[in-house]
Amino acid sequence: MAERPSRREVIQRLGAAGLALGGAAAIGRWRWDHGGIDVHRAEGTRQVRDFRLKAGNGLELPELVIAKNNPDPATLTRRAVDALGGMKRFISRGDIVVVKPNIGWDRMPIHAANTNPEVVATVVQMAFEAGARRVVVTDASCNDPNRCFQRSGIWRAAYKLGADVIIPAEHRFRTMRLNGDVLDEWPVYMPLVQADKVINVPVAKHHNLAKYTGAMKNWYGSLGGRRNRLHQNIDVSVADLATFMRPTLVVVDATRVLVRNGPQGGNIDDTREMNTVIATVDQVAADSYGTTLIGQKRENVPYLKMGHERGLGTMFWENLRVKEV
């Protein structure tokens, strides 16, 4: 007669089989996928805060400053910000300040496709002078970021002053809800929004599709993913982005302006030396004024009207307290 297992062994074997079955059933039930179209729900829920100064601060000061007629970008920048009340008005001691230039293209400063490095450096320096604990300079470039950051001259200029220059890397993007008309959920470049204060330092230039690009469209650089789709409705996209990102201060570099073949340019003949820097707290007004630099009319740039209607600012910059220095 065959040997029978002992009672103890039978219990052990039954117990092991039972555990395996029970475990499998438990895991299956725990991770049971009911299926259906809405399984993959939106996950990004974080919102970005409004970085603007509180209303009522600096009522007597100008709202739009245009610094002109000086060949030195640093002097222009300093004059413009000082006329707006100085950097101390915007930055408190110990702040983490993000400076967002346009570092979109593999072009050199002379091509005026990126923000002038001296303008960026001056803003960084003023932020440090105003007591910023940390100044971050970054952008999500269009071309290879290493090349853009190096060849724009911004990396070197900002690094010298002690700013943290962050090269955009994939892990720095997190999906967020933008709540825009066309922009719903997008990967957002986190270093730009993890800050106490945000200074938008765009370059004013021609853009073949949007007609003009400056402060509002500069927020393209806060998105990751396949942002080339935004072009299908570029005006609403720009307005959505400008609604999403409300910077503390806007400093527009118009020292040298790309007047055609924008936004990438590449030919020095397409640029004009204009020796202008605009400082303001109103992104829409900054862009509305900027259109005049490239001989464009603000009525022809629909995103300005949208921004105006959404209350992001005014496209009638003349109605602001304007000061030329």
Binding site: M108, P145, W155, A169, E170, H231, N261, P263, G265
Partner: protein, 653 residues
């Protein structure tokens, strides 16, 4: 102490027996003396000495006088190590030092190789000015420049030695002095095999099986046949042997498969860590990713076309060490074979005192080259990696490395059959025309074969390209990829541009900078951009109107035009007002009404397009882009052209 080897060593299937041990025959005076001299002093076992005594007895009496100078044991401290088997006399301190020096050089060389490989990319610098010219800070392709097999192949195919490849003469010189020290000391792939041959069989590959595995085997001839075939193929016009060059394999497999895979895994692991709702964990995970992106890889994940196969072959090759120790080096490596051919001239080598051998086989336990270091057989100089393990292990003073050793018990030429060698050469020479009459080169050139900027004309390209993947590794935009069969069987793993993954950055010339053989020439930015000369075109862009948003869907887009880097832009737009149907149906279920939209429809100017692929890369029609680049119009070709006026028959190449 069984000092006597059994007459005729049992395991000599592939080695040539020393005459006096195998069969009775003539033995010259020196050999006799060699064996007898120590035997004479060994009073205990005189009768068991197997040496046949067919030689002239007159010489025997004179033996001591003849032998003395070369074989006198150097006076050294006879400090007996009780743990050491046999006589217990330790190896010469110099040799023990050399073994440690070898280990150090191996690790340092692998580290240097890895460093140069990781640095084969552009990461930018905070210190560089805006107008600093972007070049490699180190000679990252250095290991390839020192590779004489690459130099020989490209010399036979292009009849020139390209620039830095002259360094390979230095490595040849090293081989002529020390033999295959490159294999045992320097080669990064050799060191990897050394390592895996050590760990893979370690659980069971012990004792006799390990000794047997390190005997010389017939399959070791394969590498010579492969080398001959590849050199013949080079003579026939193709540097296809780079597929088997160990340095090329290291760059290709580690650079294109291992590093991106590790980055993928690391990126996902650290990405998961960064979602943990704990600030410190997030901070460390992000910081680690930043550090790795700045030092080891790039700020984005790189992908390489069909690289699974490259990775699979690497793993398979390394795993073969479980069955044949140092599988690659012994069986397949054509560079090792090439150096093996030249090792015959080496001034440094091994001398054996067969009479002292006790057949303990300790020399074979760690033998790297399977070059018959044991007593009783001839040393295979062409197989030896000069690792010095045998002399270190030998407890009986049999093995001695020295300059200008006697050649009595050495075979210094590869043990290859003439017919097989000739057949290999024929096969290599025939393979190239066979591959080319398959249609891929002349008659049916694939439109996807877009070569890097500065690449020479296709035939010259195939003469020079060794598939080392340096260009693909260095490409900052992940634009260059190893071709699978796009360029035919002959073009396997040659570089092609896949714009969908990455486009060619117009101001970048790094692929030519790192190319060791001149398949991609060292062009300057001015030449590439066409400042003062015509720009270098690598292809031409075309629109697929059926998929293009402004063309077929009446939707504004022109991202392609925005990214077009030429000045003036090669993509120009036509302003049109087009009719489009509304999305909402009309009242009472009528057809939806039509409305007019203003559109910019893109066109390519083929005279201005340089084929960089930026438009294809950024086209929002994600799966199959509405604008794509093919190789037509490339500067390097006089046949792959569209436009009459762009055909410059006077330009070289």
């Amino acid at each position: 102490m069984s000092q006597t080897a059994a007459p005729g060593h049992p395991h000599q299937d592939e080695v040539q027996p020393i005459p006096w041990l195998g069969k009775v025959g003539e033995i010259d005076a020196l050999d006799q003396a060699l064996v007898r001299a120590p035997a004479a002093s060994n009073v205990g076992t005189p009768a068991s000495n197997p040496m046949p005594t067919a030689g002239a007895p007159a010489i025997v009496s004179a033996s001591a006088a003849i032998v003395a100078p070369p074989f006198k044991a150097p006076a050294r401290p006879t400090k007996i190590d009780p743990k050491r088997p046999g006589s217990g006399i330790p190896a010469r301190p110099l040799i023990r030092g050399l073994v440690w020096a070898r280990r150090f050089v191996q690790v340092a060389s692998l580290a240097l190789f890895t460093f140069l490989l990781v640095e084969t990319t552009f990461r930018g610098s905070f210190a560089a000015k805006a107008d600093t010219v972007v070049r490699m800070p180190y000679p990252v392709e250095g290991f390839l420049l020192a590779d004489p097999f690459v130099a020989a192949m490209t010399f036979l195919s292009s009849h020139t030695v390209y620039r830095g490849l002259l360094w390979s003469v230095a490595l040849l010189g090293l081989t002529l002095v020390f033999g295959r020290v490159f294999c045992g000391w320097i080669c990064p792939f050799g060191t990897l095999h050394h390592f895996f041959a050590w760990i893979f069989p370690s659980t069971y590959g012990r004792g006799n099986s390990r000794v047997m595995a390190n005997h010389t085997h017939g399959y070791q001839r394969i590498k010579y046949y492969l080398m001959y075939a590849f050199l013949a193929a080079a003579l026939a016009g193709s540097a296809i042997g780079g597929l088997f060059d160990p340095i090329c394999i290291c760059v290709r497999a580690i650079g294109l498969a291992v590093l991106p895979a590790v980055q993928y895994i690391g990126g996902h692991a650290l990405g998961a860590a960064a979602t943990v709702n704990e600030r410190h964990v997030q901070f460390v995970a992000d910081g680690t990713q930043d550090f790795l992106a700045r030092s080891v890889w790039q700020s984005k994940q790189f992908y390489f076309h069909e690289t699974w196969f490259i990775g699979f072959l690497l793993i398979a090759t390394l795993f073969m060490n479980r069955f044949i120790p140092r599988f690659w080096c012994r069986v397949l490596c054509p560079l090792g074979a090439f150096l093996g051919v030249f090792a015959r001239f080496a001034l440094f080598g091994m001398e054996k005192d067969h009479a002292k051998c006790t057949d303990c086989n300790l020399c074979l336990v760690n033998c790297q080259g399977a070059d018959s270091p044991q007593g009783g057989v001839k040393w295979r100089q062409d197989e030896c990696h000069m690792c010095m393990n045998c002399e270190t292990a030998c407890p009986e003073d049999v093995i001695k490395f020295r300059f200008l050793p006697g050649r009595k018990s050495t075979i210094s030429v590869p043990d290859t059959g003439r017919r097989t060698a000739l057949a290999s050469i024929a096969a290599g020479a025939i393979a190239i025309p066979a591959a080319r009459t398959a249609d891929s080169l002349d008659a049916n050139y694939d439109s996807r074969v877009i070569r890097p900027p500065g690449a020479v004309e296709e035939r010259a390209f195939l003469e020079r390209c060794i598939r080392c993947a340096e260009c693909m590794k260095v490409c900052p935009n992940n634009a260059l990829h190893p071709a699978f069969f796009e360029a035919g069987i002959e073009g396997l793993w040659t570089p092609i541009l896949i714009s969908r993954i990455g486009y060619c950055e117009p101001s970048c010339v790094l692929c030519g900078q790192v190319c060791p053989t001149g398949a991609i020439q060292k062009i300057t930015e001015r030449e590439k951009l066409g400042q003062g000369v015509p720009p270098i075109k690598i292809g031409t862009a075309f629109y697929d109107h059926g998929r293009c948003l402004p063309w077929s869907m009446q939707t504004p887009c022109i991202v392609c035009e925005e990214f077009c880097p030429t000045s003036p832009k090669a993509i120009w737009v036509e302003e049109v007002d087009a009719e489009v149907r509304s999305a909402e149906p009309g009242p009472n279920g009528e057809q939806p009404p039509m409305k007019t939209v203003h559109l910019q429809r893109p066109h390519v100017d083929p005279a201005l397009c340089i084929g960089c692929g930026a438009c294809e890369k950024v086209c929002p029609v994600q799966d199959r882009p509405a604008v794509y680049v093919t190789s037509i119009g490339e500067t390097r070709s006089k046949t792959n052209v569209i436009l009459l006026e762009n055909t410059n028959y006077n330009s070289p190449g």
